[in-house]
């Protein structure tokens, strides 16, 4: 069982926010879903062994890509070719 306080905390961790008006219903639905997930406690078996896929990561090689104009086109705030973001510090 998670409490409304814990749901608020999860919403902060995920940075999705939760409105006070929806907190009660949200917590109730959240708990119903988690209760359904409890069925996984009964699962027995082994972890998967990856067989067919291989790691395709490689050393970086510079190739033609998007133009700076294309990259900045959808950003709401830009300055001198940079994308502006909220304060991190």
């Amino acid at each position: 069982m998670v409490t409304e306080h814990e749901v608020t905390h999860i919403a902060e961790l995920a940075d999705v926010g939760i409105n006070t008006g929806e907190l009660g219903a949200f917590t109730h639905q959240f708990n119903a879903i988690l209760e359904y997930f409890d069925i996984l406690d009964q699962v027995r078996g082994e972890q998967a062994v990856t067989r067919d896929l291989c790691n395709v990561l490689r050393e970086d090689v510079v190739e033609p890509s998007l133009s700076q104009e294309d990259v900045l086109r959808n950003a709401a705030h830009t300055e001198d070719g940079f994308i502006k973001a909220p304060r991190v510090m």
Binding site: L40, A48, L66, D70, N74
Partner: protein
């Protein structure tokens, strides 16, 4: 274009071009979570309203190369999260068979556009049934290819270990033609497999063995739907196939494993939506978390926020072992069950959905909505191919027959659907 069903979010009819090739002049609709250069792509979310991708998804490049006329972007459940297209931020799509009912989801717009005859073919995506469900509810054909056969480059990710782009159309032949165009290796998708699809549907299924899992005809399935699907399987038997009863015990845990896995992946994949590089502007005078939360609370719908939070919780310290790790074991058990059954049968058949299309607004509780995915999610967990083909009606609404196949046996799945389609049309 008269879009009385709200199938489209963006139409490009005035500027549509087409060329030569396998799809020359054919009107194709593309689901709005697939990137189209120069055409707004929103995933039916406010957080991407106004976003215009600077590049085409690999499948869109392939469509253009074969001369398709891309006429618009279709409505969907926000970020693919839903079974009815009611979770769109821009209003639900209506089912052309009954406008008081949902078209299914999350590729409801694509299915409705095909069913209503607005386009001949459409592209959808399937993470837990999102091509097959709307195909079944709207009475059209939809294929979820084997994981890895169709490039996901340019598909805006929701759950990247589960989702696949796939073809939808009014006939198996059209779906096969579209699969021919979009399948194949792409170096920009690290999970892409080199298995091109060059197949013309063949109706010869003499000697075919069809597994019938009892879990697909159990208490959760509407008896009228089960009856219609059984009749359809009987028609396939008349063509020379034999049915073999079987069981998928791991199905009991499949839905929970699916919803844990997809919400965990979503919580990571949707972290990129911060209003900084794309989306509604953040207030850059605010601190990072305050600005980030504000944009996301306003931009994401309720179901999206719910799934992000479920995934965040399931991955958090202390709960990871209970939920995510167990879900991966359950997932492996589903794969092994299918492999075991496929050592004795060639394909598996059952209903696509446990009921006919719900009425709009009928499923207001999220858990009861999740439970309707019970027959489709095992396929995504295992990565195998599956098709839904119309097989009759209940209360005037279409019912879908689901054919599932071995990994990379999409061709056989198409053939079985084609063989059935030929005897009933």
């Amino acid at each position: 274009m008269d879009d009385r069903y709200n199938a489209f979010l963006t139409t490009t009819c005035k500027n549509v071009t087409h060329g030569k090739g396998k799809l020359s002049g054919i009107a194709v609709a593309v689901k709005d979570n697939i990137s189209t250069r120069g055409i707004e792509t929103t995933c039916a979310s406010k957080i991407l309203k106004g976003y215009v991708p600077p590049y085409d998804a690999h499948v869109v490049e392939l469509l253009k190369r074969e001369g398709a006329a891309i006429v618009g972007k279709t409505n969907m459940d926000e970020f693919g999260m839903g079974t009815t297209t009611e979770n769109s931020a821009f209003g639900p799509t209506l089912n052309p068979c009954d406008t008081g009912r949902v078209p299914g989801g999350s590729s409801g717009g694509s299915a409705a556009a095909v069913a209503a005859g607005m386009v001949r073919m459409a592209i959808g995506t399937d993470t837990g049934g999102s091509i097959r469900c709307p195909a079944a509810f709207c009475g059209i054909v939809g294929l979820k290819p084997t994981y890895g056969r169709v490039s996901r480059f340019g598909l805006i990710a929701y759950a990247n270990s589960l989702e696949q782009i796939g073809p939808m159309g009014r006939s198996v032949t059209d779906v096969s033609t579209l699969m021919d165009v979009i399948a194949g290796y792409d170096r920009y998708d690290s999970t892409s497999v080199n298995k091109p699809y060059n197949h013309t549907p063949q109706p010869e299924i003499q000697g075919l063995k069809i597994g019938i899992p009892r879990e697909y005809f159990g208490p959760g399935v509407d008896p009228n739907v089960a009856r219609v699907v059984n009749t359809a399987i009987g028609r396939i038997e008349e063509l020379g196939a034999t049915t073999v009863p079987c069981s998928i015990p791991s199905m009991e845990y499949a839905l929970a494993a699916y919803y844990v896995t997809c919400t965990c992946e979503a919580s990571s994949n949707l972290a990129r939506f911060d209003g900084v590089r794309y989306g509604p502007a953040t207030d850059t005078n605010k601190s990072w978390h305050a600005a980030y939360q504000e944009v996301r609370r306003a931009g994401f719908g309720t179901e999206v926020r719910r799934r992000i939070m479920l995934g965040t919780f399931a991955l958090s310290s202390g709960y990871y072992g209970k939920y995510y790790a167990k879900a991966q074991i359950a997932r492996e058990n589903v794969k092994r069950d299918f492999a075991r059954i496929f050592s004795e049968v060639d394909v598996i058949a059952g209903p696509t959905m446990p009921t006919i299309a719900f009425k709009l607004g009928e499923k207001s509780d999220p858990l009861s909505m999740y439970l309707s995915d019970i027959l489709t999610v095992p396929v995504n967990l295992a990565g195998i191919p599956a098709i839904s083909v119309p097989c009759g009606k209940v209360e005037g609404m279409p019912v879908g027959l689901q054919i599932m196949g071995r990994p990379f046996d999409d061709e056989r799945v198409i053939d079985v659907a084609y063989a059935y389609e030929q005897v009933v049309t």
